[in-house]
């Protein structure tokens, strides 16, 4: 009797111990096993999504350029990172519930199926314990994975924020440096101001319209050809690439190393046959032959090619080819350094006919940003000079004579640039009397080379209205007399002075 009571007590205490201590321990261990299994599964899926495990498929080609975007791969933080996270979460959403269902089905198949009999009660109890452990483990793992995902999102957002800050900082520093160095970039063909040059990939020639730090890279970007890294700022070396006008309706090649020097824009004005192209050719040759500390380089290949086409006519004493009516592309040079930094000089030489018609003149939008104007006056177009010529010379010079009077051209230009919103008082104007050699040949005295004497000479020839108008309109005016033919020493009359005046100009 006593033994039976003791045995029953031991059994009762054992059962209580089993229920209170052993059962939770077993459930806890099983739950931890399931949570650990999910953790392992999570990292396996993550490694597969990121393409880090050997033998797994590579991740999708995220970050490739989209239609309308740049031909470059996006920076990981600006798209592919989010895409990886999204793929990971999507796979977790399908694979973890599938694993839960498979595991619970396995437990039910082993422990919970069969007729309800007393000897099966233990098996059912074990099955219930395993099911409970699975649910508990899933909850623990789910909580941990949610927290891990939140931490990842927070860290990703912080990194993205830092990347944005660096992007804006770099852009601000680069823009600030351009501003401090007074560097402005203009297209030599469409004349519009360029915020930043476009660049072509040196390998595949894909055009990157905006290379600046952004979604495609902070310090550099990878071209879609996957062969080339491109720097994202002038500051970081993008000037070493070939620059292009970023406007889709233009897209011409810009000067080499665009954005590294201050620009000086010089516009040549004058009637057709006034001698603008010839003067410009002599001016450019004088620039190239300039000795001393000044170094001069063609800023693009086209300038050199065009100058080489003009040069033979000058050497042979023939007239240069008539300038075409199309919108002029600038002749571009790098000049310097004599004292300071070098400068990019753009010289614009349009056809004279453009000045006769306001509509065509309006198309010369570079006049909005020009620093210096060269107004070329053909002395043969001045009435008094023409009257003084012998009839035989008149007949000979008639094909060489400017088609329109200088007053007309000047008024046309003045009206149009004022209509463009330009204040001529802030601009410089050189009044250049061309063809001095023809005057000498005709026995007509040319004025002394100083500005005041040339101004008086024009006054005496009845051009006082023009001189007054020029003086009244422009802030700085200087007069020159030139002969666009090379003398024995290789220098053309008055061109050196004119060149000095052009190079002294700065906005």
């Amino acid at each position: 009797m006593f033994v039976t009571i003791v045995l029953q007590l031991v059994l009762a205490v054992g059962t209580v111990a089993l229920v209170i201590v052993l059962l939770p321990a077993v459930v806890g261990l099983c739950a931890l096993y399931h949570a650990g299994r999910w953790g392992r599964l999570y990292f396996q899926i993550l490694a597969q999504v990121l393409g880090l495990t050997a033998g797994t498929a590579q991740p999708p080609p995220t970050g490739q350029h989209r239609h309308g975007g740049e031909p470059a791969y996006r920076h990981y933080l600006f798209g592919p990172g989010r895409s990886d996270l999204s793929v990971l979460l999507s796979r977790l959403r399908t694979e973890l519930p599938a694993d839960f269902q498979a595991t619970s089905a396995r437990i039910w198949a082993v422990w919970m199926i069969g007729p309800l009999r007393v000897e099966a009660a233990v098996a059912r109890l074990i099955g219930l314990i395993f099911t409970y452990s699975l649910v508990l483990g899933t909850l623990i793992a789910g909580l941990v994975l949610v927290l891990v995902t939140v931490v990842q999102i927070v860290l990703g957002t912080v990194l993205l924020g830092v990347a944005f800050a660096v992007v804006f900082l770099l852009r601000a520093v680069d823009a600030g440096l351009l501003r401090v160095r007074r560097i402005r970039i203009s297209c030599p063909r469409c004349y519009r101001a360029i915020g930043y040059p476009a660049y072509r990939c040196p390998t595949c020639a894909a055009l990157h319209r905006d290379v600046r730090p952004g979604p495609y890279g902070v310090l550099r970007r990878r071209c879609r050809c996957d062969q080339q890294w491109l720097p994202t700022l002038l500051l970081l070396g993008s000037h070493r690439l070939t620059a292009w006008c970023p406007y889709p309706d233009c897209g011409v090649q810009l000067a080499d190393r665009s954005g590294t020097a201050t620009e000086t824009m010089v516009a040549v004005l004058g009637a057709s046959n006034a001698g603008k192209t010839r003067l410009l050719t002599v001016l450019m040759l004088a620039l190239l032959n300039r000795t001393g500390e000044t170094s001069v380089q063609f800023a693009d290949e086209l300038t050199g090619r065009r100058l080489r086409q003009l040069e033979p006519a000058l050497g042979a004493g023939e007239a240069t080819r008539r300038t075409l009516m199309e919108l002029p592309r600038a002749y571009s040079f790098y000049v310097g350094p004599e004292r300071g930094t070098r400068r990019l000089v753009h010289l614009f030489d349009p056809a004279g006919e453009r000045f006769y018609d306001s509509e065509r003149l309006e198309e010369l939008q570079y006049l909005r940003t020009v620093n210096s104007y060269l107004f070329v006056i053909d002395p043969l177009s001045l009435g008094q000079i023409w009257a003084e010529l012998e009839p035989s010379l008149r007949e000979r010079y008639d094909p060489l004579r400017a088609e329109r009077a200088p007053e007309f051209v000047f008024q046309q230009v003045l009206q149009n640039i004022e209509a463009m919103g330009v204040n001529p008082e802030q601009a410089r104007l050189a009044v250049v009397i061309s063809k001095a050699d023809l005057l000498t040949h005709a026995g007509i005295p040319t004025p002394p080379p100083d500005s005041a004497s040339i101004e008086r000479w024009l006054d005496d020839l009845g051009m006082d209205n023009l001189v007054r108008s020029v003086r009244h309109s422009f802030g700085e005016v200087c007069f020159f007399v030139t002969a666009a033919v090379s003398s024995d020493d290789g220098a053309a009359t008055g061109v050196a002075d004119l060149l000095g005046w052009v190079l002294a100009g700065r906005r």
Binding site: V148, V151, D226
Partner: protein, 35 residues
């Protein structure tokens, strides 16, 4: 070629690190609740 290999390894390391941190924090909370 895994284009973003370095960034993706960093992603993996961040996930691993954050899992360790979260588990550590949960265990700490559990230990504190039993004290």
């Amino acid at each position: 070629v895994n284009r973003y290999r370095s960034w993706r390894i960093a992603f993996f390391v961040i996930a691993l690190g954050s899992a360790v941190v979260v588990l550590g924090a949960l265990l700490l909370l559990l230990a504190m609740s039993f004290r």
